[in-house]
């Protein structure tokens, strides 16, 4: 479990089982990633039904094209997240473009701004999801539970120095959501949809 190999072995086996057309594997894939996929889609589209729809599209895509995933390029989780973000942002763009064409309110710049904002939010969500647990736990305490860094250190059983380091590093990682083409961040990697 603690070894680096374990997750990628799971990824490879999952891919083989999906390729083989094993329906039970699809269920396991869903159970592992559905909340990630739905959460990301919801962050971009801010609508339950729309997020349901993206969830369906993502799993359909993976089920129909399991070979599109390359285990050598990264974890399955990253690939699925990238695919989700891209489909969700595409969908947002389509919805906003249609709305713009229909009532002519707003501008193309507004649209681009909105789409960009949504994709940054999706990337940020993914980064929080994927960052090492110690960093996420520190951010969780300091931000959501409003603990200061000393309390955070005590809660985590680490030195205050370490708590400060984790908070800073966590935010540095999160800040890369603003950079386009961040390596490892969802959009830009994930194969064609």
């Amino acid at each position: 479990m603690a070894t680096q190999d374990a997750p990628s072995r799971w990824d490879r086996k999952m891919q083989q089982r999906l390729t083989r057309g094993e329906a039970a594997a699809l269920g396991e894939l869903y159970d592992r990633f559905a909340s990630l996929v739905h959460g990301l889609a919801h962050r971009v589209l801010e609508d339950e039904r729309a997020a349901d729809r993206i969830t369906r599209e993502v799993f359909t895509h993976v089920w129909e094209h399991p070979d599109a995933y390359d285990p050598h390029k990264g974890p399955l989780r990253t690939w699925v997240a990238a695919l989700t973000s891209r489909l969700a942002v595409q969908r947002l763009r389509a919805l906003e473009t249609a709305a713009l064409a229909q009532d002519g309110e707003g501008s193309t710049e507004d649209l681009e701004h909105k789409v960009r904002h949504a994709s940054v939010a999706a990337r940020a969500d993914y980064i929080v999801h994927a960052m090492p647990t110690p960093l996420r736990a520190a951010l969780e305490l300091a931000y959501f539970q409003r603990r200061d860094y000393r309390q955070t250190a005590a809660d985590l059983g680490v030195t205050e120095d370490e708590a400060r380091r984790r908070l800073r590093l966590g935010l540095q990682l999160l800040a890369t959501a603003h950079d386009t083409d961040t390596p490892g961040a969802p959009p830009g990697y994930g194969g064609a949809a």
């Binding site: 799993f59 300091a142 931000y143 309390q151």
Partner: protein
């Protein structure tokens, strides 16, 4: 670290208690009430040098009784940027950082970047996915690309219910895992109970699902614990609990989940033909297709026990799966009725009504309302007889959820909310037979 005097004092007294004081639960929001702290970063293990002394000038201008404003070195200020951006440092530290940002371009850039990053932190919105979405998504996928190795129809309710319970367990902490649960079932015409915990319930599911696992050729989760124990669901559960020596913990989730997945997977590979395999339950047996429906039903019933124990909502299975579970119970009713009659627990068959196998006999119309319900004619005199509208002697109507509560032993036959018309003895016999389908 409280009122430690001056910063260099704090640097010298780097004892563990200092951390404990800072971390007192229930302390005020970040940045508040920290005024008497003396800049504890110096005492934390990773620092090589003590915090520099307060400058003489500062001390001179400070009014009597005030703590002198601290001076931090660049390295320390930089390390504080994350905590500062999150408003998770003391007021003095925040002030020192802000003063520093005016004169240090690199730190000012990073500070701005980290501040913006804080704006990206958002609580996950809805953790609970609509359980129906799983069914719809999987069905949509399988429509587009038919599976080569399908999950047999009779295993889909077990697949769905175990996935649903697992999702409920997802965010449980120790408090939830050890929350008390009282298992209830109907035994010798009265309600029996057994105290356990949420983790104990999962151990129970693991032990009883093991019957199906073994029938499929998988390993028995009980190992050799079963030696000498009876192979009934209750016997296996008690044996498993006893053998553990300690009350079950959250660690039981992984083997339970893995076994569930292995069962679904193995059933898929052995194919639809395996559905007729026998699964022994100790004092009776079920065909595999029915055993998995039974396990799906038990999984749902116990998921409701667990959800109730931690005060969380839980919905019934999808109508299609609920219907399959109700149908199984209905099919088992005539057999249970006959067994109860043999044991002297049900009214005797009036002599003139003895019917040959395959012939219509006295029947009770069971009407189950709501999603997943239906209407059935239950032969009363023999499991081999045919239900017949011409020989209908009674009519019972109840809601699907209520019928399931009755069959789970969660409501007694006397208390079940059922509309009843006709032969009172026949109605009583059928309601008691439904309740006695339940077991631990």
């Amino acid at each position: 670290m409280r009122s430690a005097g001056s910063p260099d004092d704090a640097a010298q007294h780097a004892d563990p208690e200092v951390h404990a004081v800072a971390g007192l639960p229930g302390s005020a929001a970040p940045g508040q009430n920290m005024a008497d702290d003396s800049y504890g970063m110096a005492e934390s293990g990773g620092m090589d040098e003590p915090v520099p002394r307060v400058s003489v000038e500062d001390s001179l201008v400070a009014p009597a009784g005030w703590e002198p404003a601290p001076v931090f070195e660049h390295r320390v200020l930089k390390s504080l940027l994350g905590a500062w951006a999150l408003a998770a440092c003391s007021a003095e530290e925040a002030l020192a950082v802000e003063e520093h940002l005016g004169g240090c371009g690199a730190c000012a850039d990073e500070a701005r970047r980290l501040r913006e990053a804080v704006g990206l932190l958002q609580r996950p919105e809805s953790l609970d996915l609509d359980p129906g979405l799983r069914t719809r998504v999987l069905a949509g996928c399988l429509d587009r690309r038919p599976p080569r190795i399908a999950v047999p129809e009779w295993a889909t309710s077990y697949d769905a219910e175990t996935a649903r319970l697992d999702a409920l367990l997802q965010d449980f902490g120790d408090a939830e895992w050890h929350a008390p649960v009282r298992l209830r079932w109907f035994e010798r015409d009265t309600t029996a109970t057994r105290r356990t915990t949420v983790a104990g319930v999962i151990a129970h599911l693991l032990a009883v699902d093991g019957l199906v696992a073994v029938a499929l050729g998988l390993s028995d989760p009980l190992g050799d614990v079963t030696d000498g124990a009876d192979a009934t669901p209750a016997g296996r559960t008690e044996a498993y609990w006893r053998a553990a020596h300690f009350p079950p913990t959250r660690s039981v989730r992984t083997p339970w989940r893995k076994q569930g997945r292995d069962i679904v997977r193995t059933a898929s590979f052995t194919g639809c033909g395996s559905g007729d395999r026998r699964v022994p339950y100790g004092d009776f047996e079920l065909r595999l297709r029915d055993a998995l429906l039974d396990r799906a039903f038990e999984c749902w019933v116990h998921a409701e026990d667990i959800a109730g124990a931690v005060d969380y909502p839980y919905t019934p299975p999808s109508p299609r799966h609920l219907n399959a579970m109700i149908k199984l119970a209905v099919r088992m009713l005539p057999h249970t009725l006959a067994a109860r009659r043999r044991a002297g627990l049900a009214s005797a068959v009036p002599h003139r009504h003895l019917v040959p196998a395959g012939e219509p006999g006295r029947s009770l119309r069971l009407e189950i309302e709501g999603n997943g319900g239906g209407e059935w004619l239950i032969p009363l005199d023999s499991p081999a007889a045919l239900g017949s509208a011409q020989h209908e002697v009674a009519h019972v109507a109840l809601d699907g959820a209520e019928f399931c509560r009755l069959a789970a032993g969660h409501v007694s036959p006397a208390e079940a909310a059922a509309g009843q018309v006709g032969d009172r003895e026949a109605i009583k016999d059928v309601l008691f037979a439904a309740a006695s389908l339940s077991r631990m």
